[in-house]
Amino acid sequence: MTDEIKKQIMAKVSKDEIKMTSKWVFIAKKLGLHSGMALTIIVIIFLLNAFFYYIKSNDLLLSLHYGPAVWQKFLHSLPYELILTIIVLVVLLNYFIKQFDFSYKKPFLTIFLLFVGIIIVFASLIFITNFNFYLKQNLSSTNIKIPYISNFYINRCGHCVEADPNCNLINN
């Protein structure tokens, strides 16, 4: 090294012109990262579970049996704002995963798909319980209004959907 560069660096170190960032900053960043990722995963699980409940409570999959004529209505009736939110959170999850060292030890796609698989499994597990039913019941019976969620569960889930002989969906 040229001694010049070494002298410049050590002069800055000695005079405290440059300082080591405190370890607590890195600990806080790490905690933030872990928390952010955990929260993202929990929210995705919940929203995916809500999506499954929406599909089931509105019998949307049943409507597919009525042929291509009904498929357009099926597509129109999907909760796109929910789907978009899930996609945005999955992109955020992708960012969080890349911040961890384990993300490059194995092929990234494998790790990412593993996370997605675990999310789908947990969302499915919640879906098959009575969680959504009791949540909807509680939201309906109390004055507590959770933005978007209350409206989603009370007004958009649980409508009984049937088809008339002309394969037109009827919303009760």
Binding site: I9, M10, V13, S14, Y104, K105, P107
Partner: protein, 186 residues
Amino acid sequence: MINVEEKTDEELVVYIREENKEYFSYILDRYESKLRRYLYKFIHDLDDVDDLLQNTFLNAYINLQSFNSSKKFSSWIYRIAHNLAINLIKKNKFTISIDENELLAFKLESKISVKKEFQNKELSDQLSKAINKLPEKYKVPFVLKYFEDRSYEEISDILRKPKNTVGTMISRAKDILKNELDQYDR
């Protein structure tokens, strides 16, 4: 006072963090020439290399508390240097190139013996050109392996890619070089 010669890089870093920051000069002594040589492969301007080298060590010092002492320090500091170099390359649209004189320290696991390679200046030129023609994604791990003598694990940590991927990239680099040199032999 500690016996610096007996301390590993990781132990030295812990000592710098907890006891005496002045010992950072020993880190500079240990890594200056290695990093300079590595950075020179990215940027052939000596002033830019000096700047990058200085920034690497400054960044390393500032972020020293983030280093996990259970991992290899060399991978960590090489990664800092690598990222700074890549940023400068992207900014100025440089390409990574190998100086033919560096082939004096180069070892190639192939049918071409090292001795023949050294004796044949023309082959050396061809090898240098062939290495410089490698796509960047193969050239960087290849350079780290054969010019910087890094292990696959260290290259994996520096480039943040799986070890298998690093192995595949280096293997492909060698295949491409063999094809290039075979064409030359004909």
